[in-house]
């Protein structure tokens, strides 16, 4: 029951957020002179009128707003302004799985590497492992992913020729972008895990576990880890947002046909309908992720009350 109320409340706020985003971008778009039809080529009057009618640009502003809003509520983002013969829905349906695969792989990589490094650093505190892992983590956080990706391309694609430069489809092509995408988050997660782990390791129940004669491995993995991943879980929300943004550049660098590259293309080409569709999808995605993180938080720590 409590869960249901929580989810309903979240849904309500999500709708408000999506509406705000929609309204904001709609009016920004319309307020700026030079609409999407003002390309390099000058259109003749009749062609322009026809196009305007096709995209409902000849109605009064408020009517346009309501039609557009209603269509959006029905999940119909309309035809793309620039990609001919494609509706926005089709483009998004093509791009989304690609971006999702990239994001999930990147996140998995970040979690695996980050948590391993964090646990090792905390257990072997002040050792050479601790120092080098934390230095690497800070490096990973500081270097923007696009710089990392460009250096990785120079090194691993052209110099050593381990990976193909770009493209999508094979496993080999996913590895490098996913790793570059996950690297900064691996750094954050490593630091968070280390801090959390150090705090937990000084607790009495860890001493008790050792006193029972449990092996170090069992103590760390069964008893300490569970308590120390709480900060990591609460970081997952912002991390998801970061992964979404990060995938914009990485998709561009590695020429991956995901939602990010479509969005960038749309923004560069002033393709309003596609941009709006992608923007709203991102908003919903972000909101769902944050809600999931809040939910999982209460599962891991039963003391947390859902609001």
């Amino acid at each position: 029951m409590q869960l249901l109320v929580f989810l309903l409340k979240r849904l309500g706020w999500m709708l408000i957020t999506v509406w705000v985003v929609f309204t904001l971008s709609f009016f920004l778009m319309r307020a700026i002179p030079g609409g999407p039809l003002n390309g390099e080529r000058v259109l003749s009057e009749s062609v322009r009128a026809q196009l305007e009618q096709r995209y409902n640009l000849d109605d009064p502003l408020f009517v346009q707003y309501t039609t557009h809003l209603w269509n959006t509520i029905c999940f119909d983002f309309g035809p793309s302004y620039k990609l001919q013969d494609f509706t926005v829905n089709e483009v998004l349906a093509q791009g989304f799985p690609v971006s999702a695969a990239l994001g999930i792989l990147g996140m998995t990589f970040a979690l695996l590497l980050g948590m391993t490094a964090g646990v090792v650093s905390a257990v072997c505190r002040t050792s050479i492992y601790d120092f080098s892992f934390m230095l690497l983590a800070t490096l990973g956080i500081a270097i923007p992913s696009f710089v990392l990706a460009s250096m990785a391309i120079v090194l691993f694609v052209f110099y050593f020729q381990f990976f193909p430069a770009a493209g999508w489809g094979e496993l080999k092509q996913i590895v490098l972008p996913a790793m570059c995408l996950g690297a900064p988050f691996a750094g954050y997660i490593a630091r968070l895990t280390r801090t959390g782990m150090l705090e937990i390791l000084s607790n009495d129940y860890i001493r008790t576990a050792y006193a029972k004669g449990l092996s170090t491995r069992t103590v760390i993995l069964r008893h300490a880890l569970r308590g120390s991943i709480l900060p990591v879980v609460s970081y997952l929300g912002p991390a998801c947002a970061g992964i979404l943004t990060g995938s914009l550049v990485l998709e561009k660098i590695f020429a991956i046909p995901g939602m990010g590259s479509h969005f960038i293309e749309a923004a560069l080409q002033r393709d309003f309908t596609l941009g709006m569709g992608a923007l709203l999808t991102y908003t919903v995605l972000l909101y769902v992720m944050n809600t999931l993180v809040d939910l999982s938080y209460s599962i891991i720590d039963p003391r947390v009350v859902l609001e």
Partner: protein, 408 residues
């Protein structure tokens, strides 16, 4: 702090004890005066100085900033002059390069001299005058540098005065259009660092005022203001900014903005600042909530200070500690965001230069046939080094100002 025990008395109301009392008070007073209070800042600075990594980062940053400021006065090559034929994509080299400004200036001076010596009725006077005007308009300062401001121009002249035509050779190579990479990295640092500063100041201004007002007034106003922040938090602003930037870069819009005297770069800086204030507002609100019931606020109220006076004169200075900590986190975030947008081609536009743009130019010339590594490495390193130092310094400042870590 070392504490001196304060002498105690037993209270007796006769005369000698009154003198004793006075003497005791004088003693207490002198003890109090001999003790130097340690302010938050001096204590924090003392603790920061003990942190070696932070100090190293601080010095690195100081060097980077100073270099960025004096860039026009350094003997660098032109950051924008294109020489595709002879200098395209040169690998790092040590051949000297001459600007040729001194010769130009000499020719110009010679012509001017002739003009003065010429009689006022000479036939060729008009032609010569036109020629001089043409030479002045095409002066290398206008060709080699992108519309330098007053101060930059003075610095460039100073540099020509000191170094003449000498330039540091292209030790970092040249790019696709034959421009010197070292010079571009140096000039790019100016835009990137300025963005970090201006955008952070904007976010500071908005965040602190919003948070302080919300926290001080409380009640329904606070509720509404915080709800707005909640909604704003789940809006993916980065995407909206990309959206807006793409429209702002449309030629028509740019012209309209220029008519109002608004530079696109200014809009860009302001916009970045305008989206990074949310966390700051929340933090400041929390602090103000706990401070507003303190006695000094009551005291200010009793002497009739206005509400705005209380907020901005009494409350805001007291939350500066935590604001500084967040500032050190915001600056690298903002610089990174600017680089990110410029990398995507939606931030700083040519002929302005920023680090993100340079990395993007490096990416674009990557081919399997030849690796132009110098075009990525140097700009990438400059960006990474700055962000790295800022992050370390931020961690250090946070630890130094954290009262929980005191005396450890």
């Amino acid at each position: 702090m070392n504490q001196t025990p304060i002498p105690t008395t037993d209270e007796q109301p006769d005369k000698s004890s009154k003198r004793m009392e006075l003497q005791r008070l004088a003693e207490v007073m002198s003890v109090a005066q001999s003790q130097q209070g340690v302010s938050l800042w001096s204590d924090g600075w003392k603790r920061l100085k003990r942190n070696r990594v932070s100090m190293l980062s601080l010095w690195t940053l100081v060097i980077i900033v100073v270099l960025a400021i004096i860039t026009p006065a350094l003997p660098l090559q032109s950051p924008i002059f294109q020489d595709v034929k002879q200098r395209e994509l040169l690998s790092p080299e040590f051949k000297t390069y001459k600007l040729g400004i001194v010769d130009y200036n000499e020719t110009l001076a010679l012509k001017r001299q002739t003009l003065i010596e010429m009689g006022p009725l000479d036939d060729q006077r008009a032609a010569l005058q036109a020629e001089i005007e043409g030479l002045e308009a095409r002066h290398p300062i206008n060709v080699y540098w992108n519309d330098p401001g007053f101060i930059s121009q003075a610095m460039i002249k100073f540099r020509i005065f000191i170094f003449g035509d000498y330039c540091i050779p292209s030790i970092c190579g040249t790019d696709k259009l034959g421009r010197d990479v070292l010079s571009r990295v140096c000039w790019g640092s100016r835009v990137s660092l300025a963005c970090g500063l201006i955008a952070t100041l904007v976010s500071l201004l908005i965040g602190v005022s919003y948070g302080a007002i919300s926290g001080y007034f409380g009640g329904r106003i606070d509720n509404i203001m915080m709800r707005i922040i909640d909604v704003a938090y789940s809006i993916p602003f980065i995407f909206i900014v990309i959206f807006i930037m793409s429209f702002l870069s449309a030629p028509k819009v740019r012209d309209t903005l220029n008519e109002y005297g608004i530079n696109q770069i200014t809009v860009f800086f302001l916009m970045i600042g305008a989206i990074y204030w949310l966390t700051m507002a929340r933090v400041v609100r929390g602090q103000v909530l706990s401070l507003k019931n303190e006695q000094f606020v009551d005291a200010a109220k009793t002497i009739g200070t206005s509400q705005w006076g209380i907020i901005f004169k009494h409350l805001v200075p007291n939350v500066m500690g935590i604001v500084i900590v967040y500032l050190t986190l915001t600056i690298p975030a903002v610089i990174r965001f600017e680089a990110f947008l410029s990398f995507l081609g939606m931030g700083v536009q040519a002929p302005d230069i920023s680090w993100g743009m340079l990395v993007n130019e490096g990416i674009q010339v990557i081919t399997p046939i030849r690796i132009y590594w110098w075009m990525i490495i140097f700009s990438g390193l400059a960006l990474a080094l700055t962000l790295f130092s800022l992050n370390f310094l931020g961690d250090g400042v946070r630890d130094a100002l954290d009262p929980k870590l005191k005396n450890r």
